[in-house]
C-alpha cells in the first residue's frame, strides 16, 4: 500500500488504478464485466473491494467469476476488509491510491434511503477520487457502450479539470461526442427582473446573462486539444443540478460528468436539495463524478 501523502495533488487522470466495490449480489457478474471493459480501455490495474469477512466460499465463487470473465490475474487484486462499509471503502481507496472507483447504483432510492443515504451515494459524496456510478451494469458492455457524454460546465475552478478528464475518458473509450452544458438559474434573476422591468428590458437582461455564461465556458473549451472528439456547448435554464440531469435524461445521454462537491454534504443538502443532490436523487444515466484533487 502506498503513502497517503502521494494522493494530494495527484492529477485526476490517467486512471492507473481502478477499484470496484463489490457485494455478492445478482449484479456482481455484470459489474465485473464493466470493470474489465474499463481496465482494458485505460490499461489500469484493478482492485476489487469487498467489505465483509473473508469467506472461503465467496472467495472461490469470485475466483471462478474472475476466470470466466477473463480478468487478468496479474493485474487484479481483491481486498477483503471488515468494517463500516462507507468508511472502509473510502479508506481503502485512499490507501491504494485509487484513481477511479466504480460502484453499482440504483437510479432512484426510496424516501428513507434518499435522506439517510445508501452506501453508493455516501461514498460518491465523500470520495477523494473520481467515482463512476453505473446504473445498469451489463454483461454485454460493448453492445451498450457509451456513445455520448454530457458534462456540467458550471462556473467553478474545478470545471477545467473535469473537462480535461472527460476528454481523456472519451478518447480512451473512443467516444466521438462530448457536450458541455451551462445551467442558467432563471428564478434567481426572475425575482429581480419580474417586478420592475418592461418586456424588452427583461429579455435583454436574460440574453446578457446567457451570453456571459456562454463566453466563460467557450473560453475554456477553445483551449482543449480535442482531436477527433466533437465538443458542443449548450445552455439550459433551470435549477442547477436538476436542469442538467433532466437534459441528460431527455436527450438519452449514456454518461453525465460533474465536478465533485465543493463542501461536505449533509442531510440538510437533501432536505434543501441542490446541485449534485438533484442528480443523486434520480440518476438520469451513468454518472462520473470527477475529483480533480486540487
Amino acid at each position: 500500500m502506498m503513502e497517503v501523502s502521494k494522493l494530494k495533488k495527484r492529477p485526476a487522470y490517467p486512471f492507473e488504478t481502478i477499484a470496484v466495490a463489490i457485494a455478492f449480489s445478482p449484479r456482481l457478474e455484470a459489474l465485473l464485466h464493466e470493470a474489465k471493459y474499463y481496465t482494458e480501455s485505460f490499461k489500469a490495474n484493478l482492485v476489487l473491494l469487498h467489505v465483509g469477512e473473508k469467506d472461503p466460499k465467496k472467495e472461490e465463487a469470485l475466483d471462478v467469476l474472475i476466470t470466466n470473465i477473463g480478468l487478468p490475474k496479474s493485474k487484479t487484486r481483491t481486498i477483503w476488509m471488515d468494517g463500516e462499509p462507507t468508511e472502509t471503502i473510502l479508506n481503502l481507496c485512499k490507501l491504494n491510491i485509487v484513481d477511479l472507483l466504480i460502484l453499482g447504483a440504483l437510479e432512484k432510492e426510496n424516501l428513507y434511503k434518499f435522506y439517510m443515504g445508501s452506501i453508493a451515494r455516501k461514498v460518491s459524496r465523500r470520495a477523494k477520487c473520481t467515482v463512476l456510478l453505473i446504473t445498469n451494469p451489463s454483461v454485454s458492455v460493448k453492445q451498450n457502450k457509451i456513445k455520448k457524454i454530457v458534462l456540467n460546465g458550471v462556473d467553478n475552478p474545478k470545471t477545467v479539470h473535469t473537462i480535461n478528464t472527460s476528454v481523456y475518458f472519451a478518447k480512451a473509450l473512443k467516444i466521438k461526442e462530448l457536450t458541455v452544458v451551462q445551467e442558467i438559474d432563471m428564478p434567481a434573476i426572475a425575482l429581480t427582473i419580474a417586478e420592475n422591468s418592461t418586456a424588452p428590458e427583461a429579455s435583454k437582461i436574460k440574453k446578457e446573462m446567457k451570453d456571459e455564461e456562454f463566453a466563460k465556458i467557450n473560453s475554456i473549451v477553445e483551449k482543449i486539444e480535442s482531436n477527433d472528439l466533437v465538443i458542443n456547448v449548450k445552455n439550459v435554464t433551470g435549477k442547477p443540478g436538476y436542469a442538467i440531469s433532466n437534459y441528460a435524461k431527455t436527450k438519452h445521454y449514456e454518461l453525465l460528468v460533474i465536478n465533485s462537491p465543493d463542501t461536505h454534504l449533509s442531510i440538510f443538502d437533501r432536505i434543501f436539495t441542490h446541485d449534485i443532490e438533484h442528480i443523486l436523487a434520480d440518476l438520469p444515466c451513468n454518472l462520473l463524478i470527477v475529483h480533480s484533487r486540487v
Binding site: I189, A194, N196, D269, I271, F272, D275
Partner: protein, 392 residues
C-alpha cells in the same frame, strides 16, 4: 388604488425607486395624511371607515398579506444558503443575532420611549425581530443593477437575506402565537414545536408530495389556471391550518411558498405568473391601504423615528459586517455586505402592519418602522457602491 399605485410605480421606476415606495406614497396621499386632511369629505366617501366597503377592503388586505408571504416564500431558496456554506452562516447569524439583541435590549430597558405598553417580553421580541429582518426583492434589485448579483458578495447578501427572512418570520409567528396565551416556558415550547413540526413536515414529506403532484397538474389541468389555483389553494390551506393551531396565517403561507418554490417540478413560467399576479394586483392594494389607515404626520415622532433608524442601521450593518469579516471577507467587502443587508423594504412594512393589526404596537412605532424601511431601502445602494468597486 391600483391605477394610481401603478402610475406611481412607473414614475418611481424612472428614478430607480423600489415599487413599494410609490405604493405607500399613494396610500399616504389618499389617506388621512393628505386627502383626509384637506378634503375629508372626499376621503371619507372614497374610503369609509365603517360599512361594507371598509369590510371588503379589510378582507382584501388580509388576503393580500397572506399571498405576499406566499410569494416571499417562493423566493426563498434555502439551497442557496446551504451552498454558500460557512460565509453565509456567519453573516446571516450575526446579521440576525446582533440587531435582534440590540433591538430587544432597547425595547426592554427603555419601554416608555419605545412605546412598550403591553407585554414587555413579547414587545421586545417583536422589536428585536423588526430590527433584524431584511427585504429580499429590494436587495436583489439593487445587486442586479450594480452587476453584483452573481458575484461572491452578491450571493452572500442574497443567501443571508433569505436566512434572516426565514428566521424573522418564524420568530414573528412565535410572538403572534404567544399573544394572549402567556409566555411561560410551556407555551413557548409548545409554539416552537408546532412551528418546527409544521416546517419539517412541509419541507420533507410535503415537498415530496408537491414534487409528485406538480408534473401531473401541469400536464393534465388547464394552463396556467390549474397550477395557479392549486398553488394558491395550498397556500390558503396552510395559512388556515397554522391559524387554527394558534400560529399566524402568514407562517403557513410562507412555508407553503418555500415548499412549492423549492420544487424543481414547478414550471418557471408558472412561478413567474404567480409572482406577477400577486405583486402587481394584491401587493399594491396592501401597501396603499397602509397609508389609508393612519395619519403619518400626526403619528410621526422624530425622536422615536431617529432612534429606530439608528438602532436598525447600526445593528444590522455592524452585525452582518462582523459576520462577513469572520467569514474571511475584507473590511470593505464586509461593510458592503452589511449595508446590502440593511435594506428593509416591504418585509419590514408587512411585519409592522401585522403587529399593528394585532395590537402589539401603536401607530407611532408603526410610522417609525415604515420610515425606517423606506430610508434603509433608499440608501442601501449608494453605500454598497461606496464600498465596492463597480464592475461593468
Amino acid at each position: 388604488m391600483l391605477v394610481l399605485s401603478r402610475l406611481a410605480a412607473e414614475l418611481g421606476r424612472k428614478v430607480k425607486l423600489p415599487v413599494v415606495m410609490g405604493e405607500i406614497i399613494i396610500g399616504i396621499v389618499l389617506g388621512p395624511t393628505i386627502l383626509g386632511h384637506y378634503f375629508p369629505t372626499i376621503q371619507n366617501s372614497l374610503f369609509p371607515v365603517f360599512g361594507n366597503v371598509s369590510i371588503a377592503l379589510d378582507a382584501i388586505t388580509r388576503l393580500s398579506v397572506v399571498m405576499l408571504l406566499f410569494v416571499a416564500g417562493l423566493e426563498v431558496q434555502m439551497q442557496l444558503v446551504i451552498k454558500q456554506g460557512k460565509a453565509a452562516v456567519f453573516t446571516s447569524l450575526l446579521g440576525m443575532i446582533i440587531p435582534f439583541a440590540i433591538g430587544f435590549a432597547a425595547a426592554w430597558y427603555y419601554p416608555e420611549f419605545f412605546k412598550n405598553e403591553q407585554d414587555k417580553f413579547l414587545y421586545s421580541l417583536f422589536f428585536g425581530t423588526a430590527m433584524s429582518i431584511s427585504a429580499l426583492p429590494v436587495i436583489a434589485r439593487i445587486l442586479m443593477d450594480m452587476n453584483l448579483f452573481r458575484t461572491k458578495i452578491g450571493m452572500i447578501i442574497i443567501a443571508s437575506a433569505m436566512f434572516d427572512d426565514l428566521m424573522g418570520w418564524l420568530i414573528f409567528s412565535l410572538i403572534m402565537g404567544l399573544m394572549g396565551k402567556g409566555n411561560d416556558a410551556h407555551s413557548v415550547l409548545l409554539m416552537m414545536s408546532y412551528i418546527l413540526g409544521f416546517g419539517l413536515f412541509m419541507l420533507t414529506i410535503g415537498k415530496k408530495i408537491i414534487d409528485m403532484s406538480l408534473p401531473w397538474i401541469q400536464k393534465k389541468f388547464a394552463w396556467p389556471g390549474g397550477v395557479l389555483s392549486l398553488s394558491l389553494g395550498l397556500c390558503f390551506i396552510c395559512a388556515a391550518f397554522t391559524e387554527s393551531i394558534g400560529l399566524h396565517a402568514v407562517l403557513g403561507a410562507f412555508i407553503a411558498g418555500i415548499a412549492i418554490g423549492d420544487s424543481v417540478k414547478l414550471n418557471e413560467k408558472a412561478r413567474e405568473i404567480i409572482h406577477q399576479f400577486v405583486t402587481n394586483v394584491f401587493a399594491p392594494l396592501f401597501f396603499v391601504s397602509i397609508g389609508l389607515k393612519l395619519n403619518f404626520v400626526t403619528h410621526f415622532e422624530f425622536a422615536l423615528v431617529a432612534a429606530v433608524l439608528i438602532i436598525a442601521i447600526l445593528g444590522k450593518v455592524f452585525g452582518a459586517s462582523f459576520g462577513a469579516k469572520l467569514a474571511g471577507f475584507s473590511t470593505r467587502d464586509s461593510l458592503a455586505i452589511g449595508f446590502g443587508l440593511n435594506a428593509r423594504g416591504a418585509m419590514e412594512i408587512i411585519l409592522g402592519t401585522l403587529a399593528l393589526n394585532a395590537g402589539l404596537i401603536n401607530e407611532k412605532m408603526f410610522v417609525a418602522l415604515v420610515v425606517m424601511a423606506i430610508v434603509t431601502s433608499l440608501f442601501s445602494a449608494p453605500f454598497i457602491r461606496f464600498f465596492v468597486k463597480q464592475t461593468d
